[in-house]
Symmetry: C2
Subunit: 361 residues, 2 copies
């Protein structure tokens, strides 16, 4: 969860070249996709050894979803409205990306993420006065409703009256604190402070991220990117994918996946060069975490990495910048009281964002 | 969705041998898992060419989740209670399986499935007098609540009164038909007719399916298996899996996956030989569908295959048995009225189940 691989694992300068040399294919036993397109691409890379840029690869290898332009307009209007009201705007990415293995997709690769980090962070950013664009995986956790995600709706309702008429009332024990939560949700909604945008596939995510960066460029340093989504590092290009469901009767499955272009690079350099950019780094191995976080900062030159380990992510993170390293941790007492680590993360980053804006001005 | 690959794609008699010869590994660039265990397994398969049975492979290659025995007891009590009341019991499997690529899982392979087919079928089986064990993927669609799955809970509630006291009431326009649905949900729950059991990973699914089959064996032909889950055909054995998150900095990803043992074989032959067993076959290519369905019936000798194509699955299926082939289709008028194809499927199969029981008696 909460791992913007796209932003966190530096590819090193040779990555583009590696990728150009190896094209993804899926094979199941005798079935193997190495058609004319494979050879064409492969030969092209031999003839022209220059590494394509991440932005170039995005345009060439990932089809633009039809709704991206409309979403870009919605996001730009949102950013402009709040920017001109003097409000900061944060783009939060949240949830995992779906990477299809077949064109008519039955199977896909996914990244573990419920979207909890992104959804709760959105609430704390709203409490801190930000307007929030919430770019999230379809059906991942959502601000405020996430508090009741484990509950079956029908177990929380009670009927009054008989037959088909009468009220249906919420059991406020089953939905604790529901009046306060509902009030806050309504206030945010009525003030137009939260703009939800959905993705499912990696391709949708990447194009919507670019659209968001373009939409937020008008408000300069007042924009924050909080890249908490768990983005796949690997994918199979559409041209290398089988159309139909892979048949298990063809035997064991061999999958070869290309590396996803690292969008943090054009985001920081070209799309939103004035913005305050935060990436997330999730590892399962604590011993390599900080080194990887530092390497990401060195590579992309953005403002901070929130580093965390899978097993302890709900109680401990390190916010790493080029010259600081802040450990944020919950005590047992904090956890007991229901304090969430995202409150600390957002507090730390919104203060840093204030300094950043002051320095730019 | 609704594809019990485990039951639908026949492996042919040589499958076990194929599988024994090729062991799964994951490699990312320079990193490749071909440790002692790989060689040991591989050599073992050379020394002993006999194909292990599906049941043997389940025991050897998939760790038993700790809660399986408790779930088996719950299911056995449920089956016994309803069986002795003269009721039929259907085990419905629903949703997709998660196949981890790392031991401390960040990435996994998944199968497309919202769980809609299983959840709506459960309602029609309950309406037809069955007791239902609902073996479903965690957070997939659930009977009755599935009707409101696209709705944000907080958009459907209204506060009465001020401050922290007063009722919270459902907007019955936002949750259409809620009183009737709630009444039916409550009646089913109070009568104890629906037993939910959850899985996430493939391993959990396989062991819980075996436990369910054992639990239902006491009621003989009164048990139906309705295997609508979208079960992965491929997996990586725990012994071949990297412990930590695969690093994208190591380059493109090569994945080699083993075939999942086909559990339909021991289910029909050994675990529940008296039961009425239905598998599902989902294809994206309509031209191979019926041939695959027939091949599954020939291989496993169970009672029926529900064959469907990804694009048309909500309006058209074919129920294939050894000597019949029934097309079930919704007209435009049906769809307009909100008739669901699962009502027809359940009607067809519960009638066939009655004949089956009569023949056994």
């Amino acid at each position: 969860m909460w791992n913007a691989n796209l932003s966190c694992i530096p590819c090193g300068s040779d990555c583009g070249t590696n990728v150009a040399e190896v094209f993804g294919f899926v094979s199941s036993g005798r079935f193997q996709i190495e058609g004319p397109k494979y050879r064409q691409n492969h030969m092209a890379s031999v003839e022209n050894p220059a590494s394509p840029t991440a932005e170039g690869r995005l345009a060439q290898e990932f089809a633009v979803p039809s709704h991206v332009e409309a979403e870009r307009v919605r996001m730009a209007e949102f950013a402009e409205r709040h920017g001109s009201a003097g409000r900061r705007v944060v783009l939060i990415t949240s949830g995992g990306t779906k990477v299809p293995l077949e064109s008519r997709t039955v199977r896909f690769l996914d990244n573990f993420s419920s979207g909890r980090r992104g959804a709760s962070s959105a609430e704390y950013f709203l409490d801190s006065g930000y307007a929030v664009i919430f770019l999230h995986r379809h059906r991942s956790l959502y601000p405020y409703t996430r508090l009741y995600s484990g509950v079956n709706l029908l177990d929380t309702l009670q009927m009054e009256g008989e037959g088909s008429s009468g009220q249906v009332v919420v059991d406020q024990v089953a939905l604790p604190n529901i009046r306060a939560v509902l009030k806050r949700y309504r206030a945010v909604k009525e003030a137009g402070l939260l703009l939800p945008v959905e993705f499912s596939t990696l391709s949708e995510y990447l194009h919507l991220l670019k659209a968001a960066a373009q939409a937020l460029s008008s408000i300069g340093p007042k924009a924050m990117f909080y890249l908490a989504a768990a983005v796949s590092d690997f994918y199979i290009p559409a041209s290398e994918m089988p159309e139909h469901k892979i048949q298990s009767s063809n035997g064991p499955l061999q999958i070869s996946m290309k590396m996803v272009p690292k969008m943090l690079s054009p985001l920081v350099k070209d799309w939103a060069p004035q913005a305050f950019v935060i990436s997330f780094k999730l590892e399962t191995d604590a011993t390599i975490l900080l080194e990887r976080a530092r390497r990401a900062l060195d590579t992309y030159r953005h403002q901070a990495v929130v580093a965390n380990v899978l097993d302890t992510r709900r109680g401990y993170v390190v916010v790493v910048t080029s010259d600081t390293q802040a450990e944020l941790a919950l005590t047992e007492e904090d956890s007991h009281k229901g304090v969430e680590i995202e409150e600390r993360i957002v507090g730390n980053l919104s203060a840093a964002h204030s300094n950043f804006i002051a320095q730019q001005g």
